[in-house]
């Protein structure tokens, strides 16, 4: 589904990704761990299409298409979803209206008519319950005045509404208490199918107790330096990142 080959990218003069290679297939959950500043969030932003980054080498294909040539919104319509580390507050636009515009943008891309109001409301109701989001939040401005946990639950709600093929979760666990973490993880687990895939970017192993990854990658200095199964995450938690640095010879 997602193939990244030898990806190099920079922001301004600073090179952040230095030859990253990764393959994600349908039905898989991948976790990317690593110390701060190694390029994890940059990777998420580049896949999602944030424009500040300049790709200097390598390629990223999604279902065989070169997504580096697509705008962020085209990628989303193709089925890429980024759950933001810091979801943006937008006063004046309700989550309901936002989701109506997003769902219809995707439907239009698929050659479908705009969703019927009744079906849309039913869908909203169903999906918000996945993350125990109260109905009242949907008529409020996007993320405005939401707590950290509510914002993250809103991200997973949006994920559920848009039913993406590839979901990238950028440090979704940061700032979550244990209850919110459980709600978010349960939501994600219910969305998992054999046809979609997840890329979970996290600093800690904690979230991976709830969402069990098929692969764990350790990122360091702009590359993936180690790949293993879920046990690698436990090892990271236990031993920290220093041994990786030594092993890489940094």
């Amino acid at each position: 589904m997602l193939q990244i080959k030898n990806l190099h990218a920079r922001v301004g003069d600073k090179e952040i990704l230095k030859g990253l290679t990764l393959t994600v297939n349908a039905g898989e959950v991948h976790a990317i761990m690593g110390p701060n500043g190694t390029g994890k969030s940059t990777l998420a932003s580049i896949i999602a299409g944030k424009e500040e980054y300049e790709v200097t080498a390598g390629e990223v294909t999604f279902n065989g298409k070169n997504i580096l040539e697509m705008s962020a919104d085209e990628r989303a319509r193709e089925g890429v979803f980024l759950a933001f580390q810091y979801p943006v507050e937008i006063p004046g636009v309700s989550t309901t209206n936002f989701m109506k515009a997003a769902v219809n943008a995707k439907r239009k891309h698929q050659g479908l008519e705009p969703i019927v109001a009744k079906d849309f409301l039913k869908m909203m109701n169903e999906k918000r319950q996945l993350v125990e989001l109260d109905k009242s939040y949907l008529s409020r401005s996007i993320n405005e005045g939401f707590s950290g946990g509510e914002k993250k639950r809103n991200e997973i709600f949006q994920m559920a509404m848009l039913d993406p093929m590839l979901s990238i979760m950028d440090e979704t666990d940061s700032g979550l208490d244990i209850d919110a973490l459980r709600i978010v993880a349960d939501g994600v687990n219910k969305l998992k199918t054999k046809d979609n895939a997840f890329l979970i970017i996290t600093h800690y192993q904690r979230l991976l107790n709830y969402i069990v990854p098929d692969f764990v990658h350790v990122m360091y200095d702009g590359r993936i330096v180690k790949t293993g199964d879920k046990n690698l995450a436990l090892k990271m938690e236990e031993r920290g990142y220093d041994w990786i640095k030594e092993e890489v010879g940094a």
Partner: protein, 427 residues
């Protein structure tokens, strides 16, 4: 200008009535004042001389302005009195007046001889024909417009709509229309004034005088929504007495050249004025909001929020003057002016002006000019919404707060829909 050359002969064609004396004085004033050039401080950013067409004429004959057959919006979905003016003249056939005791509304041309005392007391008392060029011209030539008179302690139960429609028949006429609105002590009224251009190019000069008595309330919504080829000068001048409440919202979604003078004179203690505006320019539109709040007495509050959105090569002007006179202690005056520029060729001139002569006042103002927030834009696009729509949604979010503050619920719904249409978004 061509129309100023034969101004005397045009003036001759107006019949005599109880306003003839005021008119004559105004004509003399206008002859002295003339059309302001860009050297005039108040017209520095709007060179009106170059915006008025050469072939404009001042016509004072109603008969030449036969109503067109164009489809007009009479706000059918909203209950209320509808006063329809076609090319500047009252159209009884298209108007519907809901009768209510103590509420007078209709054509100024028809009612001025019936309410002579009211006209003697108020007409031309809010504008200053000795200094305001276009107010003088208007006073000299305006024949018709809306007259709304709410008598003491009467609350108008339904809103009153003033619907001004211009069609191709009036495109070479520099139309002068005049409203007189009087809310006596304790009276309350909601007024919606709308301008629609169904023909080609149109130029008009409109003056609305509003008098708000003690403890009276006037809510005024001024709409310039379908006016693509319109060049207009609008002066909305309100005088507030003790404990009066005034809320005006000006919404400009279209227009070639639009000048809005919105003046509020605080003449009685504890009066409250709220002046809001939302203006959207595209292509080569030029929209100039000239706001004046004159605090003449102590203990009054004024609150201004203006928001602009300028796209393509459009230009905007915000000139907001707050005057606090020496006696106007304990004044509370707030002003916020914001504009977002959607294109590199769009521009705005923002000039807040505070002139404070009292020493115990609370005044604040803020001006900001910016672009659409990049993080917000990316957030919407990351959900599959294309860039143009995402910009539309964010512009809607920014502008709709001005509509939020309008009191009539059905009108708000109409305006939200119109704003979405204007920004090409649907949800």
């Amino acid at each position: 200008m061509a129309f100023t050359d034969n101004i005397e002969s045009a003036f001759e064609t107006i019949g005599k009535d109880n306003l003839s004396e005021v008119r004559k004085t105004a004509l003399e004033n206008f002859k002295t004042l003339g059309i302001p050039s860009a050297r005039h401080e108040e017209w520095k950013y709007t060179n009106i001389k170059t915006k008025l067409k050469e072939n404009l004429k001042l016509v004072a004959s109603a008969e030449s302005q036969v109503a067109g057959k164009a489809k007009i919006n009479v706000f059918k979905a909203i209950e209320g009195t509808k006063l329809v003016f076609i090319n500047g003249y009252f159209s009884p056939a298209q108007s519907t007046i809901t009768p209510q005791s103590g509420v007078v509304s209709g054509s100024l041309k028809e009612l001025r001889s019936q309410y002579t005392e009211v006209f003697a007391k108020y007409f031309n008392k809010a504008t200053d024909s000795t200094t305001e060029n276009f107010a003088a011209l208007n006073t000299a030539f305006a024949q018709d417009g809306a007259f709304i008179y709410i008598q003491k302690n009467i609350k108008a139960t339904q809103p009153i709509f003033i619907i001004n429609v211009y069609d191709a028949a009036s495109s070479d006429v520099f139309t002068q229309t005049r409203n007189l609105i009087v809310a006596e002590d304790g009276a309350e009224v909601n007024i919606v004034e709308d301008f629609q251009n169904t023909g080609g190019e149109k130029t008009y000069n409109h003056v609305a005088e509003i008098f708000i008595g003690k403890n009276a309330e006037v809510n005024y919504t001024y709409l310039q929504i379908e006016n693509k080829q319109t060049t207009s000068i609008n002066s909305i001048e309100a005088k507030l007495e003790k404990d009066a409440r005034y809320h005006i919202s000006t919404l400009t979604f279209e227009g070639q050249t639009v000048r809005n003078n919105v003046n509020a004179y605080m003449e009685g203690e504890n009066a409250i004025a709220t002046l809001n505006g939302l203006y959207l320019g595209k292509e080569t539109a030029h929209i100039d909001s000239h706001i004046l709040v004159d605090h003449r007495v102590p203990h009054c509050d004024s609150h201004q929020v203006y928001k602009g959105v300028l796209d393509d090569e459009s230009t905007g002007v915000f000139n907001g003057k707050i005057f606090v006179r020496k006696d106007a202690q304990k004044t509370n005056a707030f002003q916020s002016s914001k504009a977002i520029l959607l294109s590199e060729d769009a521009s705005v001139n923002s000039k807040p002006q505070l002139e404070i002569f009292a020493d115990d006042v609370k005044c604040s103002h803020g001006a900001a000019i910016g672009q659409i927030n990049k993080n917000e834009l990316f957030y919407l696009r990351a959900r599959g919404i294309d860039e143009a729509t995402a910009r539309g949604i964010l512009t809607y979010a920014y502008g709709s707060s001005i509509i939020d503050a309008i009191t009539l619920p059905e009108l708000k719904d109409y305006l939200y829909t119109k704003l979405k249409e204007r920004l090409n978004i649907a949800f």
